[in-house]
Symmetry: C2
Subunit: 524 residues, 2 copies
């Protein structure tokens, strides 16, 4: 098994691609041609109600979308800080300004809340990116954007055929872009698609794609200052062949991703990217966010070890804030993006992978994680609401808090039975000893989060583990907003909460406790 | 013969293109791959000393070149007003500002002189365009640019393998760009090349081509805000197949162009585009500039008539000044570009044309020109220096000047024998009657041009014919600069001279005569 290279991604013809390519070449139509038309017609059929245009690649698609929407030097556009940085880069090339918004700590995508926080003067639009095929809450983002008179582009490069609330992503905003790079769900080699939902923009886009010229009218009389974003008929032939057998491609992709999720869900060493309620994701790639404090090797060392097993993986995207040329654009901190980015590993998603290949990848991954585990024994969570007997464990934990109780006063004036009224109440155990606690409690419609870590375990990453568990539980309970209070002087705790997207609520500055909050998206 | 459609251009495989395309597809390397490397290595070999990069198309090549040279919003770049408007359009998209310079009336390309006149504050570089494969004087332009601390891009989209002073165009400036569109000399379908002569820029260009990423280093750590300008390995395979048999392609192209020139040179109804001294042009297309005053149909009507004969032609490029979105950029008039643009017709240049096809095109063209000739009989030029007997004709002409002599006082205080001391001295005859006169005379190293048209023939385009003849003669005589004087109040004459690139020399405003001058490039 280990004799085979498992590439991160690969191009795999599954239908008439070769035949159509040869046909396009022999027709002599190698620039424009019939396959471009067939591809676009088929796309229009799939994305009913929209108008699709084949272009040279996914980044060109974004540039063309920006130009269609009239983005000019000086305009500001909100883009996620964690994603492949195509939109941000193109905006800066156009003399426009990317405004980076943060992401949700579980879904790794933007939300209305992170966009709201990034909103500033001069913003003309929003780019939504559906990272790894997981849908961002497009419907809610678009509703907010419309209320603020902003356009929306959905970058669906990684999210071909993912659905949200029963509709394909890409159908929510004004314009959507897709990539047909060799590694993508529908591949042309190099290629992209721009999809217009606002038909009034279609003619402008069509002109801009080919130098602003309408060759059916007057040669060389440019109507707009366009560019060349055309897709060669040769590549369109390949893409059309792919699109024709999209159900086979999609089924194959879903089977791979499901095989991964069956094996890896709930693993102690990482969290998988969460889906939102209403999503029917056609996941393009499986990203793991490592619980790195539980490992004795770094994310990059793990990637190197997997590479020795001939398994090609990818790190998470670098956050926009880590790219030196973005310094001038950074208006606010993007702590969640930074926290997620450094721990993500993306597993191979090649379309030619067999179930055995996926088993091999998972076997080697688990073997390495066990080899480099920092834990003597596995940790586990106890549900305090499940059984009265857990009260003893909680008592034991509270006595182990030591000096730490200075910052966790919750039980000082409460009976332990309060946990039965909590939305979530958990104890984290290691070697059967309790080392951390967390809860979510709703009072008068306001949900509060509280955590505590035993003194000997403080600053070792266990707080992050408890936070992840609580936030995911809150998302599954469809809690819309979480609040917490933290000692203003407890800098490391404040940082931890920031890395989960909590931000300070304006409050009296002489208050010892800082009130923080964050919005949540509902989990699937 | 007329049963066949003569397309304006076509793609024609002449070697291993089909085999390489299939090989690239079957290799699974459809984005990057071995053919991209082979193509670039072969280009590096041809353009020895330079580093070549395959890109998605010729316009992307320009955008990448601008970004490599650090063009930013607000920068100004000189580009020709007469050319395919790729560079100007891309500059405006980047928030930069095209500064349009005029062209030479015979070569239809920029010169040092037209660039000098366009020079203004904030200019950072120059784009040279070699229209239709005719070389602009790159060596002189680059020398001037270097003296003014400007970079130079040569847009060689239409000038593959044209040479100037023994070197390929594209080797003169800092960066050159090429197109591999289906219609071009080397065709990939869609494709382009960026060629770097300044090797210090090569690494920056390589990064910008692929998102600013060096995949051999850290994934997703963008070093620069790049874009996607990559050429698919599939298209690179086609281009490599073409490049391999470039001598066949070039010989075929040269044979077609020479067949056209043999048939059409010296025709009464149009001027062919002039080559400059030192040029060895690999002409991509044959442009005719109609002597439209001699025809009863317009340029566009002629194109429509040829189309009825199933011959596809193209008009000249619209000048930058005719494109509404350029209004904000226009700093100075570009009268030569406007004059040339409206009269140019470009004949079919398809690589699959036979000699018979070319004969057919020329036959039909001449038939139409004769059908729609405004002349009762053909005009001709008499060389006044050739024979003493021509003095009689000159005398007859001078007596026919009528009121027109008010503005042509040259012979009022000179003996007619002065013509024998002229560089050029010509009489234009129609039905054996003299209707126009022109000369170039050099005194103390300064060359002066003078023309006169008989009263009955004024305002009918004959002056333009004489001017063309004189300017071409001056170019062949390697005269570097022409001067003339014209009555300030003779607006139509001033306009005529402007359309030949003459500009007013600063002079006392109370002088009745306006002194105008223009520089010349030496003709081949």
């Amino acid at each position: 098994m280990s004799g085979k290279d498992i590439g991160w991604s690969s191009f795999r013809p599954m239908g008439n691609e070769a035949r159509y390519l040869q046909d396009a070449f022999e027709s002599g139509w190698v620039s424009g041609g019939g396959y471009v038309n067939r591809l676009e017609t088929e796309l229009d059929h799939i994305f009913a109600g929209s108008k699709c245009f084949a272009v040279s690649n996914g980044t060109s698609a974004l540039q063309l979308a920006f130009q269609t929407l009239g983005v000019e030097a000086g305009d500001r556009v909100i883009v996620p800080a964690f994603c492949f940085q195509a939109a941000g880069n193109v905006l800066s090339q156009l003399g426009a300004e990317p405004v980076f918004c943060d992401i949700d700590s579980s879904t790794w995508n933007q939300t209305v809340d992170t966009i709201k926080r990034a909103m500033t003067d001069g913003v003309v639009g929003i780019v939504i990116v559906h990272n790894y095929g997981r849908t961002a809450p497009s419907e809610e983002i678009v509703a907010w954007a419309k209320a603020h008179n902003l356009w929306v582009i959905e970058d669906c490069a990684e999210a071909w055929f993912s659905k949200y609330n029963g509709r394909y992503v890409g159908l929510f905003g004004d314009i959507a872009t897709f990539s047909m790079h060799a590694t993508k769900t529908i591949a042309a080699g190099e290629g992209g698609v721009v999809m217009i939902n606002d038909h009034s923009l279609a003619e402008r886009l069509r002109l801009l794609r080919s130098h602003g010229l309408d060759r059916s009218k007057t040669h060389y009389l440019h109507e707009l200052a366009g560019n060349n974003y055309r897709l060669s008929n040769l590549l369109a032939a390949v893409a059309y062949g792919q699109l024709e057998c999209r159900s086979k491609i999609e089924a194959n992709q879903k089977a791979r991703m499901e095989a991964y999720y069956r094996r890896l869900n709930g693993h102690w060493a990482f969290e998988l990217q969460s889906a939102i309620k209403g999503a029917s994701d056609n996941l393009w790639a499986v990203g793991l966010r490592l619980n790195s404090h539980l490992l004795t090797i770094s994310r990059d060392q793990l990637i190197a070890e997997l590479s020795k097993c001939r398994i090609e993986t990818r790190p998470g995207f670098y956050p926009a804030s880590a790219l030196h040329y973005n310094t001038r654009y950074l208006k606010e901190m993007v702590p969640v993006s930074e926290a997620v980015a450094k721990d993500v590993v993306v597993l191979p998603c090649s379309s030619n992978m067999t179930e055995d290949d996926i088993s091999y990848v998972c076997d080697e991954l688990e073997r390495l994680l066990n080899t480099y585990s920092r834990q003597a024994s596995p940790h586990s969570f106890v549900d305090l609401k499940s059984d009265r007997s857990t009260t003893k464990k909680l008592t034991a934990f509270l006595s182990s808090l030591g000096k730490g109780d200075g910052s966790f006063r919750y039980f000082q004036n409460r009976n332990l039975d309060v946990v039965f009224k909590h939305d979530v109440s958990i104890l984290l155990e290691n070697e059967a000893a309790p080392i951390g606690y967390g809860h979510i409690e709703t009072e008068s419609g306001v949900s509060w989060l509280g955590i505590a870590v035993a003194e000997d375990y403080v600053g070792k990453g266990w707080g992050k583990l408890i936070m992840t568990k609580l936030v995911n539980a809150a998302m599954h309970a469809a809690i819309e907003r979480l609040n917490l209070k933290v000692d203003r002087t407890n800098v490391s705790a404040v940082r931890l909460y920031q890395s989960f997207g909590f931000v300070a609520v304006e409050t009296k500055s002489d208050d010892k406790a800082l009130h923080m909050e964050r919005a949540l998206v509902a989990a699937k």
